[in-house]
Symmetry: D2
Subunit: 133 residues, 4 copies
């Protein structure tokens, strides 16, 4: 499990007085940084090996400015060329949003999908969500 503490920013609120719906995808991408380091330790852009195929976010309650948000992330499942990352946002001890991201191992130069290397697969497996085992 990866955990990231986020302090909501004032510009992330919207006129409804809560954190805008477009902010959660930003927080979840930011919380995937741990994953980037695990998949591609060099963090260089020119040989970045991942592309996002799908993002899904479920809103369970409103998130507000003025209190920290904890984003928790797990690997949900690992396929041949892609894997699924599952994330939750909690504020005041309540789940306010959850989501899944499908990430594909990808060669940007040739535009083709590739098999996830074994050493990455092993590192990903260390972060599998318990219930998914």
């Amino acid at each position: 499990m990866f955990e990231l503490q986020i302090e909501p920013r004032f510009n992330e609120t919207d006129a409804m007085g809560h954190i805008g719906n477009t902010t959660l995808p930003v927080w979840f991408e930011h919380a995937r940084s741990a994953l980037f380091e695990l998949c591609h330790p060099a963090l260089t852009y020119h040989d970045w090996p991942l592309i996002v195929a799908k993002v899904e976010i479920n809103f369970h309650g409103q998130t507000h400015y003025g209190a920290p948000v904890s984003v928790r992330s797990w690997v949900k499942s690992i396929g041949g060329k892609s894997f699924v990352f599952y994330q939750e946002a909690h504020q005041h001890g309540k789940l306010t949003a959850s989501g899944e991201t499908v990430l594909v191992w990808f060669d940007y130069a040739t535009g083709t999908t590739l098999a996830i290397p074994d050493e990455v697969r092993a590192r990903l497996a260390e972060h599998l969500q318990p219930s998914a085992n």
Copy 2:
């Protein structure tokens, strides 16, 4: 069908050289403005009747800076208290992203879901996706 033309902004690119994944939810929300006017013509915040329950985005290809993007939106289905909005982003005549948003009729003051009013249901029905009829 609602159609919105978007000129990608430079700050919407990321270090991969393409439009970042967190930008599509922003464009899709922006393209839901037509929907806001249809559901709540006054556009006043204090009695805003909609809350987003789910956002899902599928990435079919990369979107780039320097060419316009057309976002097309339809009502996919209408339930008792919620409806589904389907959206597509096209650039250079190719589908680069598609997505669905589940919107719930909601009373922010009491925090309860409500039945979609009949006149709104009728207006939504005029924008049903042909294949969904």
Copy 3:
């Protein structure tokens, strides 16, 4: 003079009910696209010739969601290695924000400032603000 029409986005509002202060720099950067094309017609990133040295924004009134904003831009002055771009945002016929950006001709590969090429200088001069002549 360059003019760009912008439809404020809901995610650009903040909890004060108006367009957030961090949105104006985004709109002004977006309105500098015309300038990018004029300075660097190829629009390729790897030999991008400009770097921003300074951004200044004055807020003259609140900007709101629900009505278009017109961003007007002029070249204010042209120096040896840099020039100043002046921009205004108008909504409902009123000036709501104005700002200046100092842009420097720059070689990212060597990290050095360069003289603005004569042909660019001539193109910039065509967009000088009348009062600045």
Copy 4:
């Protein structure tokens, strides 16, 4: 002096491979949260007493993804109805950006500027930049 540690987000990079110029105003606004609490401890939106009159940012060097940024803030000067906040962003021990924000004591209900209350003035004075004394 207020200090805020920021971990750059991937969506804050742009196609130039560095942190985009529109991100610094966001970080600086976020670092003004300490100020919000000092000026308006309740943090309620309906009686928010501050409006931003001017934002100025100087870029001294590029900021990059992958290393923390320290944002340091001071009160630079205090006038009758407004005060100036000065901020710096440092990465790898180098100053990459600095900026000033002019904030005005403001009644949103009547749209008028007001004198800064004495107790707020006293609290602001505790954070005056040493060189500004």
